[in-house]
Amino acid sequence: MAKFVTIGERIHCISPVIREAMATRNPEPILKRAKEQLDAGATYLDVNIGPAENDGEDLMKWAVKLLQENFDNVPLALDTANKKAIEAGISVYNRAKGKPIVNSADAGGRIENIDLAAANDAIVIALCSAEGIPSDNDERMMYCQNMLERGMGLGMDPQDLWFDPLFLVVKGMQDKQMQVLEAIKMFSDMGLNSTGGLSNNSNGMPKHIRPIMDSALVAMCMMQGLTSAIVNPCDLRLMETIKSCDVFKDNTLYADSYLEI
């Protein structure tokens, strides 16, 4: 099995520093966050430019070139509701280190992002939801099937659809957590890749608790067959847990310095 893929989530326009840097095309704060995440062991970097309705295409092109030129063609997840911006980003994207990821499609209003990924030989994150939170795993798996068939119908390799079970917040939806884990197992049994915003589980918890909850959940998810997650790679406890689970899963060969590489 391949190593668990971490997608670093810290280049996000919700952060005032990043939003400002994107608006003024100031490379420094973005490069700094990219470097921190890559040094911490991220494989992919997510680039969230928000809705970017005005200058999304220009902004995404700028961000893709900036990051790939400075970090040896680091593979990227292009994260925006603006489809044209994703396409613009892909048009300047270098695939040497991995295909671009379209973040994201769902089984409802954003299903056309699967078509976009298919047309551009990209990976797509396929969120198993249409409107709101799926009520149970029958619903999740129906969405999964719909999106899988759509992608394959367009000639996509099933491995390029990364299914997102939709991670739920513990505070409020504690009783649904096992469902999410079971959905991951179902994806895995079908031989599918999976990913998602895992830290959603710990939303609203005290800062010192979140790494503990995230680490426990990622270990359980990896046991279930989760192949990737969108995370904060600067969370040391989480990254140590992922690397350790990769050893247990025989995804990587153990060496005493395994945490340092």
Binding site: A2, K3, N251, T252, L253, Y254, A255, D256, S257
Partner: protein
């Protein structure tokens, strides 16, 4: 139903490492298939064969080996003959006389031999320490210094002395670093990690992951090499993508099958033939398991293994 060949493709490859310089330089590694899987992809660089000589001259060598070197009186002459052996790609000088539990030659004495050998051959050179970790920590940095500019492979640093040897060979004197572990996949990887953490370029490291003579716990060697190639290719593990060199001769010529005289063991047949058999069997198995280079002594073994490689790639 017609047979559809599906090549096994990996998005990873073994590093290429060049030893020596000029026309006779040899390049190890570079492949992205399992050993000799030429049906998956053409071989990048065929495995290489080295001829081992030692600072102890011909002392203790078998009759057939002595016969080949007949007339060679000095280390320089022995080295030259070794480099001219049919099938030889490089010469490996084993400084066994440095062992404090053996001849315990001084570092200066050994460096003089190293210089004499280096001057006598125009092929790439591998220098093997005496295997005593303290002595090698002192000796091998001096060897790396003495041979500056020749791009030699220094065999080898171990867990106990990698800082001294790795830093001298890989950083100060820009040679190729041999990293030796004893049939232990985790340690093989760890040694590469800590060596690169010293600042040594991963593409200047060649591994000796340990060996044994066929019949002497050899299956551990085969499974170790197999596991390393598997991780290097299928898991794209950069800390295991170094080519592998295996000193075969020192193992195979020290087992009873190779050492017992025909007078003691008449039913075993001629001693030289037994030694050659052990050397060839072990080397062939090492190559099939993943070695990118083997080090042998007997001219017949060198010729045979070199022919085997040519026929297979």
């Amino acid at each position: 139903m017609p047979f559809n060949q599906k090549p096994q493709k990996f998005n990873a490859q073994i590093n290429t490492v060049t030893i020596g310089s000029g026309e006779k330089a040899v390049t190890l590694g570079g492949g992205s298939t399992f050993p000799f899987y030429t049906f998956d992809a053409p071989a990048e660089n065929a495995p290489k064969v080295g001829v081992e000589i030692t600072d102890m001259g011909l002392e203790g060598m078998s009759a057939g080996i002595k016969a080949y070197y007949d007339g060679a009186a000095t280390m320089g002459e022995i080295a030259k003959k070794a480099s001219e052996m049919e099938g030889a790609d490089f010469v490996a000088l084993y400084l066994e006389g440095g062992d404090p539990n053996g001849a315990d030659k001084s570092v200066d004495e050994l460096i003089a031999i190293v210089n004499e050998v280096a001057a006598a051959v125009d092929c790439p050179l591998v220098v093997e320490g005496c295997k005593n970790v303290e002595k090698d920590a002192e000796l091998l940095p001096k060897v790396a210094e003495a041979l500056q500019g020749k791009n030699v492979l220094i065999l080898a640093e171990k867990e106990e002395n990698y800082k001294a040897i790795g830093a001298a060979a890989g950083l100060a004197y820009n040679q190729i670093v041999g990293a030796e572990s004893a049939v232990d996949i985790n340690l093989a990887k760890q040694l590469n990690v800590v060596t690169t953490q010293l600042g040594v370029d991963a593409k200047k490291i060649v591994m000796n992951v340990g060996t044994a003579c066929a019949g002497y716990g050899y299956e551990y060697v085969a499974s170790t090499m197999d596991r390393i190639k598997g991780a290097a290719l299928s898991q794209n593990d950069a800390m295991l993508q170094m080519p592998i060199i295996t000193p075969v001769a020192s193992e195979t010529w020290s087992v009873k099958e190779a050492m017992a005289s025909e007078a003691d063991m008449p039913e075993w047949g001629p001693q030289d033939e037994r030694g050659i058999d052990m050397e060839i069997m072990t080397a062939a198995a090492d190559l099939a398991a993943g070695s990118d280079a083997v080090i042998l002594r007997h001219p017949q073994s060198v010729a045979t293994i070199s022919k085997m490689i040519k026929e297979l790639v």
